[in-house]
């Protein structure tokens, strides 16, 4: 059953500000189809840096749509400086609250807002040293730490509810706990050795080839496409898409979602897939 407030239902059934502004002054896209929700936010500002219009497009569940609708309502009429102060909790509060396991929908809204403001200012303050902690949902240590600090999260389950990190294979739970511990200045737990055996390079390449043959190629062929393994450099798997995949507008989704997902599931969670020109 859906434990949504009337306000969530209202914004889901009749979303405010759905769509996309032409020639926006600020634009941001966050999330991905593989992760199950994504949000595109566009904003128009006047000469006083006041947001005169904000629109959204959302792929996701009812609370993701409602959160985006709420965000755009909160944004309209605010200056950039005022908008910058909006937290994910404010989005949730505007909706009369969200179920705990749906808080990540409000976090997605806040992430889109931050990114849109960066886009407006033409700067990016994403620190290059951030590393992906949750490979399933592509969540970085910086994002987890931000969510932990802002929402006073104390358990892995809460981190999953807010960021999705740890909600897939679960291999990153130790690392998430370490971030929580670090934030609260508790004694850092010793990292447990990974459960999977370490693979030699040769074993890794063989396993990647096997996984492509068994798990990936048949699906691509089914849609008239194909894939070729070009090289493996450390944890980077370089591949080329062939046939229908090479010209498909969803090929990036295929890459990041399907191909990388399968390789992470069957070979090693730290693998990253990159497409190279054929």
């Amino acid at each position: 059953m859906w434990e949504y407030t009337d306000k969530v239902k209202e914004h889901f059934l009749n979303p405010k500000n759905a769509g996309e502004i032409e020639n926006p002054d600020a634009v941001a896209e966050v999330g991905s189809i593989a992760c199950g929700d994504a949000l595109k936010l566009t904003m128009k500002l006047d000469e006083n840096k006041r947001i005169v219009d904000a629109k959204f497009k959302t792929f996701g569940c009812a609370s993701a749509i409602a959160s985006a609708s709420a965000l755009t309502e909160l944004l309209k009429g605010k200056t950039i400086e005022e908008a910058e102060k909006i937290t994910n909790q404010e989005i949730a509060d505007y909706l009369g609250g969200l179920p705990p396991e749906k808080m990540h929908c409000s976090v997605l809204g806040q992430e889109a807002l931050e990114k849109a403001i960066e886009n407006y200012r033409g700067v990016s303050h994403r620190k290059p040293e951030e590393v992906i902690i949750c490979a399933c949902f592509g969540v970085t240590d910086g994002e987890i730490e931000h969510a932990v600090r802002q929402n006073h999260l104390t358990s892995i389950e809460e981190v999953t509810n807010y960021t999705k990190a740890g909600g897939g294979c679960g291999n990153c739970h130790e690392k998430i706990q370490a971030i929580i511990d670090r934030v609260y200045q508790t004694k850092e737990r010793q990292a447990q050795p990974a459960e999977r055996p370490r693979l030699s390079n040769l074993q890794k390449i063989r396993l990647i080839e096997e996984t492509i043959d068994r798990e990936i190629r048949p699906s691509l062929k089914h849609d008239g496409g194909d894939i070729e393994l070009v090289d493996v450099v450390g944890n980077r798997v370089l591949v080329a898409l062939r046939g229908a995949c090479a010209v498909c507008h969803a090929s990036q989704l295929t890459m990041k979602g399907f191909v990388q997902g399968k390789l992470q599931e069957f070979v090693a969670p730290e693998l990253v897939v990159e497409e190279v020109a054929s």
């Binding site: 859906w2 889901f12 059934l13 979303p15 759905a18 896209e29 189809i33 593989a34 992760c35 199950g36 929700d37 994504a38 949000l39 595109k40 497009k57 959302t58 792929f59 996701g60 569940c61 009812a62 993701a64 749509i65 399933c136 949902f137 999953t160 999705k164 909600g167 897939g168 068994r214 798990e215 990936i216 048949p218 699906s219 089914h222 507008h249 969803a250 989704l253 295929t254 979602g257 399907f258 997902g261 399968k262």
Partner: protein, 393 residues
């Protein structure tokens, strides 16, 4: 608002005849079937009669029927019993698309040191029989493969698989929870050693299940206690539900043809209607070997929970394999095992029908769903240029 219930693989309406049959045993006939007196003994007669009806639906002997509390208990009992009776063997074979009652148990056994082979399925949801045959080893204690998949309705060749296991002296269990009552099952004509069924999937109430154990199969009970079920499952009988299940099995036998004609036609009408009206959608699971009542269909670039919630506004009940509805953050393990792309997996909806559905129900979905899909796609950042419909009328 009328409820249009198209979620019969989740649970079913308790049939009116079934309710009538069980009611007296919730009321005046409350005796314990194990008692010596006539008051209890008359209840024992009624339970025996129900067991006969259950056995008859399966083509089994009544002694081969162990009544349990649910499908999950049956599945757990079967697998753990096989392991207990083969202490020197350390290998389990199952599939990647089992119900959690088998999947999660086997994952737990793997952590305890058992070697577990999860047989893959192809993009159409069909079991890889070559890989299955190659996986059978002298060390294999038990094979547990579902008869039909609950999400896609794809039917697995379990009778063939059971024969291959029998040739190597390996026990074979099947979770037939979705198959019983929908396709013919005759245990006299196969070599399956154990089979699970669940009452509430065939118009009996929740809280009653069956484990069929072929005569001569070594068995270790899961619930240890009294002499009930010939010492194979302790605990006082759930009398009203057992009687209800007996009646439901009798009805299922009578309705089996209807499932494969009337229900199948309704399902096909729904499938045709949706594929014709909605672009960029796809049926998940092979159409060749599929339960007559199940339609699993994916709508590209939108998310299942949203679809369900909008259908709910019209009283339409269905399920989804999307992340938000799977109880985890990832789409259903069944669709992932099939390699359904994420663009499709998150937007999957399962409709499952029963003999109580009508053409009117189906037509309501065909009328109301296309605008719902359209509405969500207009909201989706991934939705670009619509292509033509998936099928022509």
């Amino acid at each position: 608002m009328k409820t249009v219930y198209l979620d019969n693989n989740a649970t079913t309406m308790v049939a009116r005849e079934v309710v009538e049959e069980m009611l007296p045993y919730l009321g005046e006939y409350y005796g314990n079937p194990s008692s010596m007196h006539t008051f209890g003994g008359q209840v024992a007669h009624k339970v025996a009669e129900a067991r006969l009806k259950i056995a008859s639906l399966l083509g089994a002997d009544p002694e081969e029927i162990i009544i349990t509390s649910c499908g999950t208990e049956s599945d757990n009992t079967a697998i753990l019993s096989a392991l207990a009776n083969n202490p020197s063997k350390n290998h389990i074979i199952t599939s990647r698309v089992e119900h959690p009652a088998v999947k999660v148990l086997c994952e737990g056994l793997a952590r305890k040191g058992y070697r577990v082979t999860f047989i893959p399925v192809d993009p159409e949801g069909r079991l890889d029989m070559d890989e299955y045959a190659a996986s059978l080893t002298p060390d294999t204690a038990i094979v547990s493969i579902m008869w039909a998949n609950n999400e896609t309705g794809v039917i697995f060749p379990v009778e063939t698989a059971a024969r291959l296991a029998r040739e190597r002296g390996i026990l074979f269990h099947t979770d037939a929870v979705q198959a019983i009552g929908k396709i013919p099952v005759n245990m006299k004509g196969n070599t399956i050693d154990m089979l699970s069924l669940s009452g509430h999937k065939l118009h009996a109430p929740k809280g009653v299940g069956v484990l069929y154990v072929r005569k001569g199969t070594k068995f270790s009970p899961f619930l240890i206690g009294g002499h009930q079920e010939k010492g194979r499952r302790g605990g006082t009988e759930n009398v009203p539900s057992i009687i209800a299940l007996g009646k439901a099995c009798e009805l299922a036998a009578a309705n089996l043809d209807k499932e494969n004609t009337y229900v199948r036609e309704l399902r096909d009408r729904l499938e045709r209607g949706l594929l014709t009206a909605i672009p960029q959608c796809k049926v998940n699971g092979t159409k060749d070997e599929r339960l007559p009542n199940t339609l699993n269909i994916s709508f590209e670039f939108i998310e299942g929970e949203s679809i369900l919630l909008l259908m709910d506004q019209f009283g339409i009940c269905a399920s989804s394999g999307s992340a938000c509805t799977s109880g985890s953050l990832q789409p259903s393990h069944v669709l992932r095992a099939m390699g359904v792309p994420y663009t499709m997996a998150h937007g999957s909806v399962r409709f499952s029908l029963s003999v109580y559905n009508t053409a009117e129900d189906v037509d309501l979905v065909i009328k109301e769903l296309p605008p719902i899909i359209e509405k969500l796609r207009v909201l989706s950042p991934y939705w670009a240029t619509p292509q033509g419909a998936c099928a022509t009328a």
